[in-house]
Amino acid sequence: MKIGVVTFPGTLDDRDAARAVRLAGGEVVKLWHADADLQKVDAVVLPGGFSFGDYLRCGAIAAQAPVMESIIDAANGGLPVLGICNGFQVLVESHLLPGGLIRNENQHFICRDQKLIVENVDTAWTHGFKLGQEITIPLKNGEGGYIADDETLKRLEGDGLIAFRYSEVNPNGSVNNIAGLRNERGNVVGLMPHPEHAVEPGFGPDTPLAMRSGVDGLTFFTSVLNQVVNS
């Protein structure tokens, strides 16, 4: 099962995302922003970072890259796509997910282990979770405040398109505590926190059991691998 991990100029977390795919049992295919060939991958991860220096708007220039033309087409055809942090911003700028992301309400760059509630499990990337499950994965962003107009929000809430909500703390002022979204079909998921940083014991968030033992992020990757195997 081949999962493409895209690198744009300024991407930071492509290697961690690739490592997460491998730990989950998948094969990694490196995709380059300037190459429109998706190399027959079964799913794509858009990792975090600061693509194109966050110039213009976060994710806006990356959304125009040749590789994104192919990814937008493929996503509209059902290819599973996960956007993490800057990857979420790219998905929003590509109109694969609605709304926008603005500077954190308190203007600080936030880096913390963040509790989330899983709000939807009918997606390629979340079906391994239980509905309402609380998970903890790292969050690190400066422009993670999710916003959308009232009509869009009503649709997101009404159609069950919110995939994750912040629990206990809303770190960036996101409306309705929205941490992540899914599309109608459930193949596209985007979120600000970083599942790929919580996949290996010894390197994840602290849990009540042991320091740095949190691996809640691994389920994103095992979910898509199971779905790809089953389909």
């Binding site: 213009l56 708007r57 806006a60 609605p98 926008g100 500077r103 203007q107 916003i147």
Partner: protein, 74 residues
Amino acid sequence: MPKADLLDPAGKAVANALQRKGNAEITNVRIGKRIELHYAKTPTEAEVEAAKQIAADFLSNGVIEDVVAVTVEN
């Protein structure tokens, strides 16, 4: 410009600094962008229309920003 009903954290930080400096009459600050597109010759009407489209589709994000004006200057 950031939409009027949206929080503009950068503008708010500048407004706070101005008020600290004693400019109590300034109640709010909003920070936008100016983007210049350069042409070899004065752009035609069609090119200005194309620039307006670029401004709406790519240079701004309608969810969070409004295009205030597209003007031709020398």
